[in-house]
Symmetry: C2
Subunit: 368 residues, 2 copies
């Protein structure tokens, strides 16, 4: 079922979000080479010679698709303090494999097709792996997914049903496995494998930019005051911010990145080195687990006057159960974003009349 | 999270699809009383004094919602003979609980709210039960779901997570359980419990009508030649047909109802009595199992010059596996509709240039 991919003729290259140096269109899969050598890894982003009026530029004007995007928002939320502001929940579970990752995969896999790779490789035990497996299958490409030994059998079963090659490896060995392909001409790494962490494919991250356009329309033509996003290494948050910045650099929403224990919070509030690893873990929020921080996550908060918010497993679990009992079927790692939004209202950061978009990253039917 | 329900002021009553008699707005939950007493049960449908230009009338202008509807269509399908016609797959898995049933639940539960019931009750071991549980929770109503003993633990777990009361009962005893509430003023039956079978809540079935409007837009402003629908008792097929008939009675698509063994086919092709029970079963297509036929299913085919198509489990299984390996993540009971569409092309019923909408009723992530 492969489809043609058309490169946007305005795609001009990549640019480092830290040093600002430009690179040609290519696959620097561990971010800016200059910053990496200098010991401060940073992701690249796509640059364009022109952007469409009222829209966002994307690297491919025709791309591999399974019908992702244009997801609905749900209003009328009244759990916690949500009812006191204009909080709208964006249902990314409506995407073809049930999560926001489909937006990423559409463009990460299209890059692989456009550049002539035969396969993609990624480290993921969840939504990203399932999504990449589906989009690779759609494109007619191979897909290698490195999962941890603790990945549920249901997830590895879904990956195999989608034709992916599943490699079960210990945690950091997954990154080492992906890193093996960093100079491959046939297998393209699309998720982070570098430590200190950088983030995932810049082409894939571009796929999150339309969320900004959709939300602006769904809030009546103006961007919301806040966007709340579950976050691990900040791919989604950064991509959504890039979209808003491209639409109107003067009116970007504050971004609130939600995490299960202090990582980004430790960097922003305690001055911890973002290149370190952060103690802590989560049993209940696997989609935003991991012990690293990225510069793109830090920059998302800094550039928008946003914040990082911690929701612990102990806080998440009763909240999540109550949400299901109100008919909201998110996965736990997504439910936490609504709790963080409720707290923004409670502490006055998003007062009466404030508009808050919450990204419900995935539905809760995959058993994660 | 209850929301207000507003009754459409043009809703005038119910009408029997067989005898044409009108009934006041109410809950004749086993269909037309006259036809039932005459031994030929038939479902009712909503009637209106006015319908919106270019749209379809719905019983509630504000209704309980979790963000259902407006699902995307996927093109570029090339499994089997699909690539030879203009076949578009409507992704009903994009609905909040992952199936088309959300469209039904939005209106069946809204009826319960509008009429002052405290609970709904249904027989379902799958998508309908999960959907009704979610919408009842959203509305603040109770929900009783009767499941068979063979219902997977994952399904009963999801039902309980959504706050539903789960009753495990043998197959026909499930209908007897639902029937207990047929005269209740507090608990409203919303799925079929009558034998011979009638079909589900006419208010809920109205919720399928917008599929016709969406498909007409998604085929460039004209209805497709064929609509292919997985079917058990024909609620979805009938509702979609009602929508097309309301939009343009002169140009209704032919409806193809797909079943796992001859039931509707036996009625249409061999003259079997639709009020009988039909031998056969399915292990692989649980969402369209059951041994009954309804008049609404028969009428959907007869009024549209359509057909019934059988896809056996033996045919369904390799087809379904191949679809997943092309990135199309439907549940098995939905995958079969694409095989039936491929056969419409193959046997010339939908030749080159024909337009075919296939309803992909549910995603494959709930383990059904």
């Amino acid at each position: 079922m492969s489809e043609r991919v058309t490169v946007n003729p305005h795609l001009s290259g990549l640019r480092c979000l830290a040093c600002g140096r430009s690179r040609p269109v290519g696959d620097d899969t561990a971010g800016c080479p200059h910053c990496r050598e200098a010991g401060a890894p940073a992701n690249l982003r796509c640059t364009y010679t022109a952007t469409p009026a009222g829209g966002v530029a994307l690297p491919y004007t025709a791309h591999i698709t399974l019908g992702e995007g244009d997801t609905p928002v749900l209003t009328g939320l009244d759990a916690g303090r949500l009812g006191e502001a204009d909080v709208r929940l964006k249902l990314e579970g409506a995407n073809p494999t049930g999560s926001h990752k489909d937006r990423f995969s559409a463009f990460a896999v299209s890059r692989a097709v456009a550049a002539g790779y035969a396969e993609v490789v990624a480290a993921s035990s969840g939504n990203a792996g399932i999504s990449l497996a589906a989009y690779s299958a759609r494109a007619g490409l191979g897909c290698k997914i490195a999962v941890t030994g603790s990945a549920p059998a249901r997830i590895t079963g879904l990956l195999r049903d989608l034709g992916a090659e599943v490699h079960v490896l210990p945690d950091l060995a997954r990154w080492e496995y992906v890193a093996r392909f960093r100079t491959s001409r046939t297998v393209l790494p699309v998720t982070n494998y570098h430590l200190p962490a950088v983030g995932s494919s810049p082409y894939g991250i571009e796929g999150f930019k339309p969320v900004a356009r959709e939300l602006t329309a769904q809030f009546g033509g103006r961007p919301p005051d806040w966007v709340v996003v579950p976050s691990s290494r900040g791919d989604l948050a950064w991509g959504v911010h890039l979209g808003f910045a491209e639409l109107d650099a003067e009116r970007v929403p504050r971004m609130c990145l939600v995490e299960p224990f202090p990582r980004l919070s430790a960097v922003l509030e305690e001055g911890a080195d973002p290149r370190g690893t952060f103690p802590g873990g989560t049993r209940f929020q696997p989609s935003i687990a991991g012990n690293t921080v990225t510069l793109q996550a830090v920059e998302t908060v800094r550039r928008t006057g946003g914040r990082a918010a911690v929701v612990t497993d102990a806080e998440a679990e009763p909240w999540h159960r109550a949400l299901w009992r109100s008919g909201i079927c998110l996965e736990p790692s997504s439910s936490v974003a609504l709790l963080a939004a409720s707290r923004l209202v409670e502490d006055g950061r998003a007062g009466a009349g404030a508009s808050v978009a919450v990204i419900g990253t995935a539905h809760g039917f995959k058993g994660m």
